[in-house]
Symmetry: C2
Subunit: 541 residues, 2 copies
């Protein structure tokens, strides 16, 4: 995700590609992390659009993660025929995945069948348990593959037509092509990952209990390594530490002193997207807990028993023997999305440029931008955020600032935008963002007819008139970083930072309230209660 990012590249691709005329908006999204796209009829087709309004439009939603589910929950207009395609027939409350890895919360407590979520809809919603492996924008079809075998030993495959396509498939773990990671490391993106990690932790303890294992080997097996000091990695390390101290130490008294937890982070600090106070608190707490935080440590290779890192401070390679490794360094794009990107091609920034270049001189006076500044800022929220952060008054200042010139050609314009983009990454890959995006998109669908008539969005760079909708704006409600031992840090909007046990209770209440159904809410709360009373279960099932 470099350059101007998916957001821009896809979102505007339709202007240059007639067959994509239905593509309107794209977000990078996650929770599960991912990408949400939706396409609709372009303005060029609006004259013919109402002709077949009697026939309900086919909306295909790919994915049942945060964005997809939020979209489905918020979609109210009954004039759609909705089909959902996802390899998971449930929605999972992913922020609690680290809790599932250690049994603080049960996997079953944080999932809700998608059919249950949509069955009260007034319109027809069908679910198909399959994975989309190819999107054909030309013929408006998605090709899907189910996990079930046919009688002939093959795999069930089918295609689904769409009028509107909502891509909310999420991302996959990013290994940065580090050798051995896929083979030996655990990820923490799906329910199954969390269940596997839980079994693996117990496996390590059981294996270390066998009489054939040497002391050195035992230490290796009980060395748990977490790669990536982001919120997920930190929370997992903290949860694992609690599990070992509070529960496993009692059941494996001979092993408890051999357990070691290491957190490897390539950057200078863990939780680097958080406020400095939180980072410092977390690092201090982990040090007190005996969790070994190694910053500036880049993983080069993972073998079955060792992790090879390169230490930035010394430049040396270090071999770390380990028993289990969890890889949580961020997310990458799924192959099907990469393919989709290739299909629709790269966005041409020139559309914006030519819009501003009213005289068609091929070169732009900064004054020329003034007309389109507000529209640029609305369509590219990161530009607005960047300006605010750098305390620049407007886009003209940005251009002046970066180029030092009063006039610039398209290349310079591109590089100015790139600079903004490189510093202002896409929205964070969190559940919060994805859920808001899903809700926003559903709102667009709900108000489609109204906004056809009275478009409310920014000026179109290509074509005439305005976009129908305001682009998506993310409203940040803050972020939690659970640190174990009933301590949680929270960064709230307005640079509010809250750390400690009271924040843990805030965490409990926010998460409980955000759960998707009363069933999951009650189950998760009773799981928490059960953990307080009985501890976590260590049966290897």
């Amino acid at each position: 995700m470099t350059g101007f990012g998916f957001y821009q590249r896809i979102s505007k691709a339709y202007y240059g590609h007639p067959h994509l005329s239905k593509l309107l908006l794209v977000f990078t999204v996650s929770g599960g992390g991912g990408l949400l796209v939706y396409s609709d009829r372009g303005p060029l087709m609006s004259n013919t659009a109402f002709d077949d309004d009697i026939k309900r439009k086919k909306v295909v939603v790919l994915g049942t993660g945060w964005a997809g589910t939020s979209f489905l929950k918020n979609l109210k207009d009954p004039n759609y025929d909705v089909q959902i395609v996802s390899p998971r027939n449930y929605f999972a409350f992913t922020p609690l995945l680290p809790s599932v890895t250690n049994g603080t919360v049960e996997a079953r407590s944080i999932v809700e069948p998608i059919r249950n979520i949509v069955r009260k809809k007034k319109f027809d919603v069908q679910f198909k348990e399959a994975e989309c492996y190819k999107i054909d924008t030309q013929n408006k079809k998605v090709y899907c593959r189910s996990g079930h075998e046919t009688n002939l030993g093959g795999i069930e495959e089918f295609a689904v037509d769409y009028d509107y396509l909502v891509i909310a498939m999420g991302a996959r773990a990013n290994t940065f092509n580090t050798p051995g990671v896929v083979e030996h490391a655990h990820f923490l993106k799906e329910i199954e990952d969390a269940q596997r990690i839980r079994r693996s932790v117990i496996d390590c303890f059981e294996r270390a209990s066998l009489p054939t294992i040497s002391e050195e080997e035992r230490k290796r097996i009980l060395h748990f390594v977490v790669v990536g000091g982001g919120p997920t990695g930190v929370e997992f390390a903290a949860e694992l530490h609690d599990f070992v101290i509070e529960d496993l130490a009692k059941l494996y008294p001979r092993l408890k002193d051999l357990v070691k937890i290491t957190l490897l982070e390539a950057g200078d600090h863990i939780l680097n997207m958080f406020d400095k106070r939180i980072t410092t608190f977390a690092e201090d707490k982990f040090q007190r807990d005996g969790i070994d935080v190694k910053t500036g440590s880049m993983v080069m290779k993972v073998t079955e028993t060792e992790i090879c890192t390169k230490e930035r401070a010394t430049g040396q390679s270090v071999l770390i023997p380990y028993g289990m490794v969890v890889w949580s360094t961020g997310i990458g794009t799924r192959p099907v999305i990469m393919d989709f990107m290739k299909q629709i091609g790269q966005e041409d920034i020139s559309a914006i440029f030519s819009k501003a270049d009213t005289n068609n001189t091929g070169s732009l006076k900064v004054e020329d931008f003034k007309e389109v500044i507000n529209d640029i800022c609305e369509r590219y929220p990161q530009v607005a955020i960047y300006l605010k952060k750098k305390q620049l008054k407007n886009f003209v200042h940005l251009l002046k600032n970066s180029q030092g010139e009063a006039e610039l050609d398209i290349e310079k314009f591109k590089s100015a935008l790139s600079e903004v983009d490189s510093q202002m990454k896409n929205l964070p890959a969190t559940a919060q963002v994805a859920a808001q995006q899903g809700a926003y998109l559903a709102d667009c669908f709900n108000r489609m007819t109204l906004c056809e008539k009275y478009p409310e969005g920014p000026l179109r760079f290509r074509g005439i008139g305005r976009h129908r909708f305001h682009p998506f704006r993310y409203k940040h409600f803050g972020q939690f970083a659970p640190l174990g031992g009933e301590q949680t840090a929270a960064q709230l909007p307005g640079d509010w930072v809250s750390i400690g046990q009271s924040t843990q209770w805030l965490w409990y209440s926010v998460y409980a309230s955000k759960l998707v159904s009363w069933r999951t809410r009650i189950l998760v709360i009773s799981d928490w209660g059960r953990r307080f009373i009985f501890g976590r279960d260590s049966s290897r099932i």
Copy 2:
């Protein structure tokens, strides 16, 4: 398990085999179903036995099922060094397995880590997660294999020495060597089986929802077949029916009318070990529910999509297309136990014979038996039960009855015993029996020293004096047969039969009270509560 059964064959083998001099008692056991053996010093060694009493005796327990866990819970004498070897580091409350298959109860709610169960013991208890694959009675060693791989890609193997060996490994599902069963059928013996079945049921529904599937194929996929009309098969069929009617029908409205459940039973009736009234009630209820009960139907072969049966009534072969099949026809012996049986050889009934034949004539007057009748009945409880059932006064009558002669040689004696055995099967393979056997055995261990001095058992057939302990007597507290729809049948001692919703509540309370820990108790009760309120979860995890 023919002839005089494992119980006798193993239990007395030690008299004829010096190296088995530690073997004292054997039970066929189950819950998980299985075999429980324990060995100790024989009377011939009792003079030297006290010499090394200072050194604690090594007790090795194989298995963490009903018998093994009950043994561990009841063992109180701190003068043992106990090692447990089992591939499962938990105890599972197996009577609730059918409930786990449909999510009425969660798998995690019915398991308890074995380390948790034994950690409050006053003596040293160690657990090793491994499977015993060979018992060497000559050198008093068990050979074990862990599921964990070594660094060299092999499997961790080790041997454990014992002074006393408690075999409580349970049985495995019995396929009667029917082709295709292992490959295509689900069993219902372990937690993993139940979890797999749960996923499979959902898989069938999801697969049947795919657009590529023809109507006929859809019907096939939604045809659930249960082979075996015993309590487990019947309960599973009933639970599945409830799951479909109460939960899945709402989520898969297009499929609900295509679902079919068939129960195949080779005998004339389902639940044939129960009272006639229960059998009739169950058959009627299943008919009302639309569960197709086919009796007299013997499965000959299972392919990926079809079950081939032979109908006793017509003698014809029938092909039944199916989507999922659960095999629950009873239990068989594990290979390691078969091997063990071979090692210790077959029991010689001649020991009893020669004890009775005081004059060494090779032929026995029935009067000769009078001396040993009580002992025979105590050591072979089925003889006593048989006599009671046939309303014979004593063993002499049995002999007279079966032979019609006043004198008999060893062959006739054997055939008289065989007849008893063939009619009076070993104790049923239930959790109840296994738990009582474990407790009995623990009690023997607890009173070992006392009973060495004051033996209280029956006369020894070989050697002199008495056995130290009374043999195990099973006390039957009744048996439940849940039939779905909040209806349960119960057969209580004294031919009491109770059927209906009140019995379901009795079932709830008995099962809740029998659960192994407060944790599992509360979890199971809250699972039941959750099911009442929210229904069962159908997420495919």
